[in-house]
Amino acid sequence: MTDAAIDIKAGAFRPGTSDAEIEAAAAKAARHRRRTVIFWRVAILIAFLGLWEIAARQAWIDPFFYAMPSAIAQRLYEWTTEGTSEGPLWYHLYVTMEESVIGFVTGSVAGIIIGVALGRNRMAADIFSIYIKVINSIPRVVLAPIFIMILGLGLASKVALAFVMVFFVVFHNAFQGVREADRAMIANARILGASNWQLTRSVIVPSAMSWIFASLHVSFGFAIIGAIVGEFVGSRYGIGLLINIAKGSFDAAGMYAAIIIVMVVALGAEYLMTMVENRLAKWRPQPLHETQ
C-alpha cells in the first residue's frame, strides 16, 4: 500500500491551534475542572459542618438531640485515646468487623455457588425459585431476635444475620449473570471441547463476574447493617452496642461518633472492593471516566 498522506503545513491552521497547543489547552481545562469539583466538595462539607456547629451553639437546634461537630470530634478523640465506657474502641470495632467480614465472605461465597448452580440448572431453579422468593420477602432484620435466641449473644448470631443480608443480593446477581451469559460464547466453548465443568468454570462464572461484583459492592454495607442490628438487639461488644449505650444515656455525640466510625469503615471497604474489581476486570474496555 502506498502512503499518500497529504502533507499539511503547520501554517494551514490558525495560530494558537497547533496540536501541542490544543492538547495543552485541553489538559489545562481538565485540571481546572477537577480543581473546581474538589473545591466545591470541600466547601459544601465545611458549610454543612459550620452551619450545624453555629446552629447548635446559637440554640437554633437543640444540641441535646443533635449534638454538634465539635462535641462529636471530642467524643471520637476520647474514644480513640482513652477508650469507651465499655472498654477500648478498637476492640468494639474489631468485633463488628469480624462479624461483618465473616458474614460477608460466607454469604457471598454461598450466594455465588448456589446462584451459579441454580442458574445452570433450569429445573432446580424452577422448583426452588418460589421458596427463595418467599424467604426473600422476609425483612431480614426481623430475624435478629430469632438468631440471638438460637445462637446466643456472641459472634454466631451476628454472622448469621450478616450472612442472610448478603446472601440474597449476591445470589440474585450470580443467578442473573449466569442466565445472561452469551449463548454464542457458550456454544463456542462447547464446540472447542469444553466439558460441562470447564464450561461453568471458564465461561459461565467469568461472564457472570461483573454482575456478581456489582452485588458485592453493596453487600459489604449490608453485612455491616446485619452485624450492627444484631448488636442492637443483644450483644456484649461492638459498634452497635456503643450506639445502643449512647442512646440509653442520651449521649447524642456518642451516637454520631459511632455512625462516623461505621461510615469510614464502609467507605474503606468500598474502596478496597473497587481496587480488587479493577484488578480482576482489566479485560474490560475502560469506561468513560468521571472526573474524580
Binding site: D182, M185, I191, L192, S202, W283
Partner: protein
C-alpha cells in the same frame, strides 16, 4: 460404528427440523433437506434471511438433533459434539476476559493438552494469522477484522476436519471482508478441511466455494445446487470482475431472487 473410509464428510439425508416457538407453537425450519459435502470440499449455503440456514449447521455440530431424517459426519451418525468439527460464529464468540493468546489456547486446554504445549501451538497460529504482536491484548482492544482472525486461529488450532461457518464475516466492512476471504482460503488450502459456509451474500459464496446450495424461503429445503468451476487459487479481490464469475452470479441470483421475494412478501404480510 461402521465408519466407511471414503464416506463424504457431511451427509444430511431428508432432514427435517422442527422447533417450538416461545409461545409453544411448532415451527418447521428445515424440510426434506438433503446435502452432501465431500472431503476437502468448500460448500456455500445461500438463502433468504431467516430461512433456516444456521439450523443446518447446528444439526451437523450436534448442538441440535433432527426431528426426522439422518445427519452423518464422516459416515457415522451424529451423536454429540464431534471433536473433528470447528465452528466460526457470526457474532463475536471470543472470551472477552481472556487475552488473545489465552483465547486461542482455549480449545487445546479444554481438550486436555498441557499448557506450554498449547501456548506454543497458539503462538504458531497467531503468527499464521499475523497477530503475533497482539498476544497479550484483550479482544476489546482489537478491530473487528482482527477479532475474526483470532476466532479463525481459535478454531483452526484444533485441527478441524470439518469447518462450519455461520455468516462469519457479515459484521465486517467490505474491505476487511475481502481480506478475510483471502485469509480463509489460504488457511483452508493448508488445512484441507471440508467447509460449510452459510451466508446471505451471493458474491461471497461464489468467490469462495466449490458448490453453492440455494435454499428456499423457510421452511428451507434445497432449491438448486451450482458447481462453481473457477480455478484455484482464487484472488477474491479480483475474481468478481471476471466474466465467468459474473455469469454465475447472474444465473444464481435469478434463482435466489424468487426466494428472497417470497420471504420478503411473507414478512410484510
Amino acid at each position: 460404528m461402521a465408519i466407511e473410509k471414503n464416506a463424504p464428510a457431511i451427509e444430511l439425508i431428508n432432514v427435517s427440523r422442527r422447533f417450538l416457538s416461545p409461545t409453544g407453537k411448532s415451527l418447521t425450519a428445515l424440510r426434506d433437506f438433503t446435502m452432501t459435502v465431500e472431503r476437502g470440499e468448500f460448500v456455500a449455503v445461500v438463502g433468504p434471511t431467516g430461512c433456516g440456514k444456521s439450523t443446518t449447521l447446528n444439526l451437523v455440530t450436534g448442538l441440535a438433533s433432527p426431528s426426522a431424517g439422518e445427519v452423518r459426519v464422516m459416515g457415522a451418525p451424529v451423536t454429540g459434539i464431534d471433536p473433528r468439527i470447528g465452528f466460526v460464529f457470526q457474532s463475536d464468540a471470543l472470551f472477552p476476559w481472556r487475552t488473545v493468546i489465552e483465547n486461542v489456547m482455549a480449545g487445546p486446554l479444554f481438550r486436555g493438552r498441557a499448557k506450554p504445549d498449547a501456548a506454543a501451538a497458539a503462538r504458531d497460529w497467531l503468527a499464521r494469522v499475523g497477530l503475533s504482536r497482539f498476544e497479550q491484548h484483550y479482544p476489546h482492544q482489537l478491530s473487528g477484522g482482527m477479532r475474526k482472525r483470532v476466532a479463525l486461529a481459535q478454531t483452526f488450532i484444533n485441527g478441524p476436519e470439518i469447518l462450519l461457518m455461520d455468516e462469519p464475516f457479515s459484521a465486517l466492512d467490505v474491505q476487511t471482508r475481502v481480506l478475510m476471504h483471502e485469509e480463509l482460503l489460504r488457511l483452508w488450502s493448508e488445512a484441507k478441511a471440508s467447509v460449510v459456509f452459510v451466508t446471505h451474500d451471493l458474491e461471497e459464496a461464489i468467490a469462495l466455494a466449490d458448490k453453492v446450495y440455494v435454499l428456499t424461503a423457510g421452511p428451507a429445503t434445497v432449491k438448486s445446487v451450482y458447481t462453481i468451476d473457477l480455478p484455484r487459487p482464487r484472488v477474491v479481490a479480483d475474481i468478481r470482475y471476471e466474466q465467468s464469475f459474473i455469469n454465475y452470479s447472474r444465473t444464481i441470483w435469478a434463482d435466489l431472487k424468487e426466494e428472497v421475494e417470497t420471504s420478503y412478501a411473507r414478512a410484510a404480510a
